[in-house]
Amino acid sequence: MKKICLYFQVHQPMRIGNYSFFDIGSGKSYFDEDKNKAYLERVVRKCYEPTNNLILELINKTDGLLKVNFSITGTLIEQLEFYSPRTIESFAALVESGCAELFSETYYHSLSFLISEREFREQVKLHRKKIKSVFGVKPKIFRNTEAVYNNDIAKIVAKLGFKGAITEGSERILGWRSPNYLYKAKGENLMLLLRNYRLSDDVAFRFSERNWVEYPLTADKYASWIAATQGDCVNIFMDYETFGEHQWPETGIFEFLRYLPLEILKYKDCEFSCASSLIKKLEPKDEIDVPHFLSWADIDRDLSAWIENKIQLHAFNEIRALEGKIKRNKDPKLLHNWRLLQTSDHFYYMCTKWFADGDVHKYFNPYETPYDAYINYLNAISDLKMRLGASAEQQAHTH
């Protein structure tokens, strides 16, 4: 049986508010509550609520044959707990059905593996703890921020006890091999599920593109492509916000989703699978060696969407340099703020790769230019440094 693995990334960053140079040292919060609330409520209304309901309905309709996988970031869970606890419940209902598996990742959807191994481990553990306390499950599969992966990350992840991880099914690491098989990380007891980016992006990016030759994409057509795909498994990974937010309801994306499971199940050799049962049933075909960073973003499939140009490098170095001080300081609020500022989205907004891929960046970017994103970020960092200094001074006095 060919296994279809659907995985959805569910994430919202804590967006930085308008933080002026004149706000440095003022005690103003970095994060704009109203703006974050508004963004969150919109995405709940447009995507999470209707899509969760639809998937639950389809699980019931298929007698549990539909299986899905999610990973939900800590920054989103926190915001949902605050602004929309109902949405947490609806994710919990999916998990309870036994047909939805939750993955683990860094709590803050961060690039913490570039900060230090210690910070990375701490954030993974934080997320695991959060998932356990909210949903009562312990994830077995790891998904790093934007599917960023290399051999070093595999090593740490295996040590943390994960059985499998996901990343991009890029030709760069696969060569002649197909992404539609199970693989193993080089030298580690860690299974790798590789994203079939063509089939995934057919939905995530091309679904509503009218000058695409396959437009309109219907559920039966897509199911026939999956059925015709050679291999043991087909890994369809994308942002959950594809449904209703990136692809508006008017594009027919919900109708597509409504009929897709039924159309796929018409093929007798296809079944849906949760990731951890998939890796138990399939044998890895080969080892994958990934010496350099790989991600699922842009055409470059590397870290260049977040850390490439001068402003991104500088902003990231600024936040990284604070680790020692922040951790010695032991102020939980400062630590939390520092970590919220690590969320990869902040760096994505500073990307200056304008053309081609830049258009996608523009779509998701609340700032008019990457330079505005950087200025805002640096102002916040400057303030954090001041708070850190003041807090250290205060501690010196009390001790």
């Binding site: 230019t369 330079y371 950087y374 200025i375």
Partner: protein, 388 residues
């Protein structure tokens, strides 16, 4: 072609534009005869016939035309303060146009091309006499020049007549096109946007030693209400509250100069604000600047922003400008947002990587940017579309 200034006699961007544009146009096998107000000196170029409409026959004085009523042109040197515009000014416009009609009606041409409102009356008359299509280029409207405060209705009337009579209209930005459609009720179908170009040979970073260690924030342009210089000074006050080691340099003259000087005295920052006056060679100021600011209230294009970029200075420009449609690697503000402007100036002065990234990207962008040949080609297409 009719216009009111040509280098070396110029007060603003039009002269710069016309020199680059006509040179490129003539290289595309176009013969140009240019009729302009009398300057008292001979202007000679091999690519264009320049006829100065000598007003002597009528009044015995040379014309002192400029479209900016608020600006005493060549003020310090040539114009005595007791000569005030008013009916006098409109008369001069009329005399110039009458002479231009006389001269123009003897010229064999295929297209009549007018730049800005002061030439429109002649353009309309010549269209009738010569029975040739009229093309007008709008470099600014009365709304722009007055910053939307008390636009002169007579000028607006002339502008509107010219726009209605024109067979084709060229604007220098979408922003300006929108102004014509919204404020003058002009049919958008006969308006073509042709963005300004820049002469990269002329604007290059020079190696100049600064005489002090302070950072320099630069403004270049006329000192009129249209240009929003007062917001620049308000922002300077805010910047200086956070960082004392900054100087603000203002290059240009205009009717707001006394007001702006007084304002900087009142704000107690006069020692940090340098009024340089009119300067024909601005490259040297660009070359010592750390930040260039164009805070215009309403700017049809804004060539100075391109000049600054060509000299590798990071720029902050107002969103109410045409140039903000074509330049990506810059910072943009609303002209009234003094806090936002100060924030961005401080960021550029404090965060070095931002300065470097912007400079690098902007340089690459400006090298890819259009030249005057592109402008001339676009304009020829407009000519062909209306030629009979």
């Amino acid at each position: 072609m009719l216009g009111w200034e040509f280098p070396p006699f110029k007060s603003g961007g039009l002269g710069t534009y016309l020199l680059g544009f006509t040179k490129a146009l003539s290289s595309l096998n176009t013969k140009i005869t240019f009729i302009m107000p009398y300057t008292g000196k001979s202007i000679k170029y091999d690519f264009i016939d320049i006829i100065q409409a000598n007003g002597v026959e009528f009044f015995g004085v040379s014309s002192k035309l400029t479209p900016y009523i608020t600006l005493p042109v060549e003020s310090k040197y040539k114009r005595s303060i007791d000569v005030i515009y008013g009916w006098h000014f409109f008369d001069e416009v009329r005399y110039y146009n009458n002479r231009a009609i006389e001269i123009g009606s003897k010229i064999d041409c295929d297209i009549i091309h007018c730049h800005d409102w002061m030439t429109y009356s002649a353009g309309i008359a010549l269209k009738r006499v010569l029975k040739k299509p009229l093309v007008v280029t709008i470099h600014s409207t009365e709304y722009d020049r007055t910053g939307n405060l008390f636009p002169n209705t007579e000028i607006m009337h002339i502008e509107r007549l010219g726009l209605l009579e024109a067979d084709a209209i060229i604007t220098v930005s979408e922003y300006e096109k929108r102004q014509l459609v919204d404020r003058y009720g002009i049919n958008p179908n006969k308006i073509t946007v042709i963005y300004n170009a820049i002469d990269l040979d002329k604007y290059k970073r020079m190696n100049i030693e600064k005489m002090f260690n302070d950072k320099i924030v630069l403004y270049v342009g006329r000192l009129t209400i249209q240009k929003g210089v007062e917001f620049f000074i308000d922002a300077a006050k805010k910047v200086l509250e956070k960082n004392k080691n900054v100087r603000f340099v203002i290059v240009g003259t205009g009717d707001q100069m006394p007001y702006l000087m007084q304002k900087s005295v009142d704000l107690e920052i006069a020692d940090r604000i340098h009024f340089v006056g009119f300067e024909s060679d601005v490259s040297k100021y660009y070359s010592i600047a750390d930040v260039f600011v164009m805070p215009s209230v309403s700017e049809p294009f804004g060539l100075t922003a391109l000049e600054a970029l060509a000299c590798e200075v990071p720029v902050i420009i107002s969103k109410q400008s045409g140039v903000s449609e074509v330049i990506r690697n810059c910072l943009k503000i609303d002209f009234w947002d003094v806090n936002g402007l100060a924030n961005k100036i401080l960021a550029l002065l404090s965060y070095k990587p931002l300065n470097e990234e912007l400079k690098e990207r902007a340089k690459a962008e400006i090298l890819r940017y259009r030249n005057w040949n592109d402008v001339a080609k676009d304009c020829l297409n407009v000519y062909y579309s209306v030629a009979r």
